[in-house]
């Protein structure tokens, strides 16, 4: 059993506060990913959990022990660093055995554990090599081997894949996922790559400027972003966000995006937005919720006709860019739905998937 709890965690560097009192509970065997842009405090938070940074205020608990004052070696954690942090003068075996030597394991036990970990990670044939004789992916495996060999309570990953090329990153992502399924250790993973976060996490913690914006499963943060920031951070391309006004329509509510575009709010959402009639809002819709409608009836008041300003064919689908009210909007349309820039594109927004945000607070309504 290993849980990690952060209670009102603050971090200051001199006068500058970089982490503003965050609360988080990581459950037993859970894989939680901290994601956010550079400088959002995610790595600092992870380093506080590791004991590599002092805590300014707040508490960190691992199981039922407050670890605030414990040195890193006494927290029973293992960490995989962005630059691997392999000891360059030691062989792979020595790197993996290093931590066991200081924890009272005898030689035969060390050997057994290192070989077992090497077997899991497919690096058995590399054990005699030095780190500089390894490729980036192999180094990353060794770094993970060094972490799992000890069977710690918690794994901490600090952007471990960011030094790898795109293809290797995808395969290592799969390896990490498999590894977690196999060893099932509570893990906290830091990345700035939202795709990595979505694919790996049981739960995602989205951070921005030292605060947590949202905690949720990948599905939740994608389909129900708690704020404009989350909506604009998760997804590729990100959610279309347009300034709009909520108005009363004949028999319900509508969101007015432009002079000629007023989209009806689905009945299921009317009650939630009823108090915002007449107020400015931010309208959000994912690119895949913009549906291609070449034969859309002109009288359908939801049909949007615009000129394609940019096209990005991705093979499986095509990103088509057009403008609404002077703002760029992107739709993920079927391949070859629009062939040339300047063509008229007819689309229907899937209003069941829309989100509204309060423009003042940026929070979801």
């Amino acid at each position: 059993m290993a849980t990690v709890t952060l209670n009102s965690l603050y971090k200051n560097y001199g006068e500058t506060e970089v982490v503003h009192g965050i609360d988080l509970e990581v459950g037993h065997q859970e894989f939680v990913v901290l994601v956010g842009p550079s400088g959002c405090g995610k790595s600092t938070t992870l380093r506080m959990v590791a004991g590599l940074e002092d805590i300014t205020r707040g508490e960190i608990w691992i199981d039922d022990t407050c670890v605030n004052e414990l040195e890193p070696q006494h927290r029973d954690i293992a960490m995989v660093f962005q630059d691997y942090a392999l000891y360059p003068h030691m062989s792979v075996f020595q790197n993996m055995a290093f931590s066991l030597q200081y924890r009272g394991h005898d030689k035969s036990d060390i050997r057994r554990r290192v070989l077992a970990a090497a077997d899991i990670l497919n690096i058995s044939e590399l054990l005699e090599r030095r780190p500089k004789q390894l490729s980036g992916g192999q180094r990353q495996r060794v770094a993970m081997g060094r972490a799992i060999v000890r069977d710690p309570k918690v794994f901490l990953f600090d952007e471990p894949l960011s030094n790898l090329d795109a293809k290797l990153r995808v395969s290592m992502r799969g390896e990490i996922k498999k590894l977690h399924r196999r060893v099932a250790t509570t893990s906290i993973y830091v990345t700035h790559d939202q795709v990595e976060a979505m694919t790996l996490a049981d739960r995602i913690v989205i951070m921005n400027a030292g605060n947590i914006e949202q905690i949720g499963t990948p599905d939740e943060v994608y389909s129900k972003p708690a704020s404009v920031f989350v909506a604009g951070f998760v997804g590729s391309p990100t959610m279309n966000l347009l300034p709009a006004e909520l108005t009363a329509a004949d028999d319900g509510l509508a969101v007015r995006l432009d002079n000629d575009i007023a989209l009806r709010i689905p009945e299921t959402k009317r009650q939630r937005y009823a108090n915002y009639v007449g107020q400015p809002v931010v309208f959000g819709l994912r690119p895949e919720n913009i549906l291609w409608s070449p034969n859309g009836a002109a009288q359908n008041d939801a049909l949007i006709r615009r000129t394609a300003e940019e096209i990005e064919p991705l093979g499986s689908d095509t990103l088509v860019f057009f403008s609404i009210g002077g703002r760029e909007v992107v739709g993920r349309l079927p391949p070859n739905s629009v062939r040339r820039i300047g063509e008229t594109v007819s689309v229907l927004p899937e209003m069941d998937a829309m989100q509204l945000f309060d423009p003042a607070s940026g929070k979801a309504i």
Partner: protein
């Protein structure tokens, strides 16, 4: 057919690359490399190789500036190794004097770690510690002679003020303390230089290695001998080789501070060579001494580099 105006013809000629003197690119690179080498190689050959070769020839001859040379075989070497007590003293003193290198390195490593830590004004400390190195050796000798002076020296003044001694200590005039006293001055002078080399080495060790080690369970001491020392090995051996060279050629400091005395208590091979050649006019014998010193010295340098893994001074953290 298109015609070219005179302006275009001139512009075309200007654009056309000049034909190089040496047609092949590879040959040009080789020639350029040797051109850069010539000045340094000339100085090296004139002032190092030729004198060394001449010394080697001289060491097998009876020679003086006023008499024709005569083949002597191994006479000077026999004399040196079998009968010359001063040579043995000088060799022993040189070996002891070489300890300035490891002692200096240990002290410099401590200082380098200190000024590499997060202490305040570390830039100032780095400068202060390094200041001794650019000083002229003659100046260092004069300063330390004053520090050691029996009557007005700072050390005797402090020791007497603290009541630790009744009579002043003749640091440089006593057989038991003279060599150690000169060594202290030599260490002081080279300490800053060692510190800078080691500091560079320390700064090349990525911080995340220490972080990984601390998570792995290594305390500060274990981090020092499992991470810092192995990764500093090239820098340490670079210091060692430079320190050994410095101790072998430490003529000026000895000359100014003790002139090899009292007796031959601070006589080094280098001062003995000077004395033999320029005071006793035994150029042939001094030549033999120089050859022995060279062999001795080159053996130690090769050994040190071998122990360093052949990469003394290399900075490679990957």
């Amino acid at each position: 057919m298109a015609t070219t105006t005179p302006e275009e013809a001139i512009a075309g000629a200007l654009r056309r690359p000049r034909k190089p003197l040496i047609a092949k690119r590879r040959h040009r690179q080789v020639v350029l490399t040797y051109l850069f080498l010539i000045p340094a190689a000339t100085v090296f050959i004139l002032y190092r190789l030729i004198p060394l070769g001449w010394n080697f020839v001289l060491s097998f001859q009876f020679w003086s500036p006023t008499a024709p040379a005569e083949f002597a075989g191994l006479y000077h070497y026999e004399e040196m190794f079998l009968f010359d007590d001063v040579f043995r003293d000088a060799l022993k003193n040189t070996l002891i004097y070489m300890l300035t290198a490891p002692i200096g390195i240990i002290m410099a490593l401590g200082l380098a770690m200190l000024v590499n830590s997060q202490i305040r004004s570390r830039g100032l400390y780095r400068t202060l510690i390094f200041l001794s190195y650019p000083l002229m050796t003659v100046g260092v000798g004069i300063i330390w002679r004053w520090l050691y002076d029996e009557k007005v020296g700072l050390f005797n003044f402090i020791l007497r003020s603290l009541g630790l001694i009744d009579e002043p200590i003749a640091f440089l005039e006593s057989f038991s303390t003279a060599l150690a006293s000169v060594m202290a001055a030599a260490i002081w002078q080279i300490l800053g230089f060692f510190m800078i080399i080691l500091l560079t080495g320390l700064q090349n060790i990525p911080e995340h290695l220490y972080e990984a080690a601390s998570i792995d369970g290594a305390n500060r001491w274990r981090q020092f001998y499992r991470i810092t020392l192995p990764l500093l090995r090239p820098s340490i051996f670079l210091c060692l080789i430079i320190g050994i060279i410095a101790s072998f050629t430490s003529f000026d400091l000895i000359f100014v501070m003790t002139n090899g005395g009292p007796g031959h208590a601070t006589e080094l091979l280098i001062t003995y060579i000077y004395r033999s050649a320029f005071q006793l006019s035994q150029f042939d014998y001094a030549g033999a001494l120089t050859v022995v010193m060279f062999v001795f010295f080159i053996t130690i340098a090769i050994l040190a580099n071998f122990v360093a893994g052949g990469d003394a001074g290399k900075v490679d953290i990957n």
